[in-house]
Subunit: 379 residues, 2 copies
């Protein structure tokens, strides 16, 4: 309906819109790069958060070694996006067991924009066997590495640490490269208290140690242990257990991460992602904005009104309902209301593009629009 | 990665996929058509549910008078979709106050696939004034009708019923056609008990009566009262208050509507929309499927496993975690797991296309794939 052209004032951005505060984004990217650098860790940001080759390229410019993705189709989309540099090193932090998906993934290694290295998590002998067959079908391209995923406390994917050695031996037996351990504790990221996140990381570190022993019993070693996230980044870095940090959400910082107790980790980052909405209905008691949960995900709780004292209530797919505290005026019909999403990853996935803004949300101007290249890439 | 071609067996559909059971869809479409016909009501299904011109065309073939949409960009997308017949009659059941959006909407009336009639809700004098200005800019095309939205109990958009007359007079004073009342009670749809839904509809009917009086005081009358939904359809129909039924979810029936107490309304419809997922990780205690809340919306609660005794737990954007009751086996690595989404509308909005299946989910075959034409149409 309206293309937000570079130079347009923020006020002209049509709503609802997914807006990046580029200044805050740059500070977040630099800050996490410095956390990783100070600890001697490689930073491999998770692209499931932003799904955008421009953001990935920006992270690479600040020293990131590559990207994580969760889905094969995300890897394909980011590698195929011709409006930004392709990632040099891609890690699928998830199990892929379907031949059709494995074929699509390994074809990247022979493509015109091939990454130099492509990693994938495995946690079953069936998965390893399927990967080996697909690798042969693909012509045994160079650059493929498998990582054994261990369950370090999340209770989702991954084998018990003591079984890491068996799986790693199966990888090698199939003629594939065993690169190390995928060891991510998603649940740890969102524990509110620093002490609870420290406890979770301590448990994860013990699990990694157990996996190292299991590997050693097979005469194998993990060159890379990769994991960690935005909520535990400085704790992960201080542990000495991980070689590679997979944090993703720090680029945007959602409401949920910001609710974590500081001072470590999440508290050091700024909100850089917003949904711009507008009041399109207004009564004496409340204002209604044109953004509902088709504009921002609710899985991790509500969004927060960014600049204003109003309380938000869910009013459906396309509406939000604002009330004002006693003595405070409601926004007027047509007024802009900025929301900080409750959870950035699935919010980004609802939008086709970002409007990137420089100079702040109040007085700034549109710098660019970036496609959400991997939006809807579920497979 | 894989195009699901007509004739392919259901087993070959790559996961996660949004799958329509076409047989169940047809029964749902026919059933609601018959509810409306029996009561002498026009059926104007809400396209915010399916966002697909093919489904809208199917509903029209069964007697629907047109479609509802919530957003201008949805109207544009459905009208522009050249792979299905365009809707003949479009109603935007929402307020539109931005000139850029009003221009895009009214341009439809002069376009090559113009609807014969285009309705829009208003609930403010500013909205009416903006609409009048945009209508003049568009060259005063025929077919535009405004409906005054009244709040019949939802507490969202709409004026108090007693103010309907004033707004209708303003519509007429601006030279625009006043067509009637938009009177939808969203909250009523999801009250679990039939008696509570009946109470809510009774309250809404009183509000409509009050609005009629307000209009009469201005010497005006509402030719159309439009509203109602899947949860209250038979109650709405029996009330004699509404001329037009806006039900949307009945085409697909999600887990949330199915949880409503029967025997009326929702209970008469079948699940016709599923997310096909696959176990891609499996431990001794649980199975992990490749569909998370980027595949199915959680705003109205969890999905339900369609064919199997397993309990589902949220495991993030791209994962679901299944456990088995005592004595029951977990699904195996690679097994298909079907989910009934908690809420169909925002689930559909996460997918680019439907895979349409005939002959059932177990033994059926792919009939077609349909684009979700208005996916992501937020503006």
């Amino acid at each position: 309906m309206k293309n937000n052209a570079p130079g347009d004032p923020v006020a002209a951005i049509d709503t609802p819109a997914l807006v990046i505060d580029h200044d805050a984004l740059l500070r977040n990217v630099a800050r996490m790069a410095s956390v990783a650098r100070a600890a001697g860790l490689a930073l491999r940001p998770h692209a499931k958060t932003h799904k955008c080759a421009h953001v990935a390229a920006l992270q690479a410019e600040h020293g990131a070694v590559g990207v994580c993705v969760q889905k094969v189709s995300e890897a394909v989309a980011l590698t195929s996006a011709t409006d930004a540099a392709p990632p040099r090193d891609v890690l699928v932090t998830n199990e892929v067991i379907e031949p059709v998906k494995l074929d699509a993934l390994f074809a990247l290694l022979s493509g015109p924009r091939a990454p130099q290295r492509l990693g994938m998590a495995v946690d079953s002998t069936l998965g390893i066997q399927r990967a080996a067959e697909a690798w042969v079908r693909a012509g045994q391209p160079a650059g493929l590495e498998l990582l054994v995923e261990i369950d370090v406390g999340q209770g989702r994917c991954g084998v018990p640490p003591a079984e890491a050695g068996n799986l790693a031996r199966a990888v090698v037996a199939h003629g594939l490269a065993f690169a190390g351990l995928q060891a991510y504790h998603g649940g740890a990221q969102h524990r509110r208290r620093v002490a609870d996140r420290q406890d979770a990381v301590r448990g994860a570190a013990l699990a990694v140690a157990s996996a190292h022993q299991s590997l050693a019993r097979m005469g194998l070693a993990a060159a890379r242990v990769t994991g960690g996230g935005t909520g535990t980044a400085t704790i992960d870095a201080a542990s000495g257990v991980w070689h590679e940090l997979q944090a993703g959400s720090y680029v945007f910082m959602d409401r949920d991460y910001a609710d974590n107790e500081g001072p470590a980790d999440a508290a050091g980052f700024e909100h850089a992602l917003f949904v711009k909405s507008r009041v399109h209905s207004r009564s004496r008691t409340h204002a209604v904005i044109d953004a509902g949960h088709k504009s921002h995900a609710l899985d991790s709780g509500p969004p927060r009104v960014a600049h204003g004292p109003w309380t938000w209530a869910n009013a459906g797919d396309e509406h939000g309902r604002l009330e004002a505290p006693a003595g405070v005026a409601l926004p007027a019909l047509g007024d802009t209301v900025w929301l900080v999403p409750g959870h950035c990853d699935p919010t980004v996935n609802l939008h086709d593009r970002y409007v990137v803004v420089q100079g702040g949300l109040a007085q700034g101007r549109v710098l660019d629009t970036w496609p959400v290249h991997a939006r809807g890439c579920l497979r």
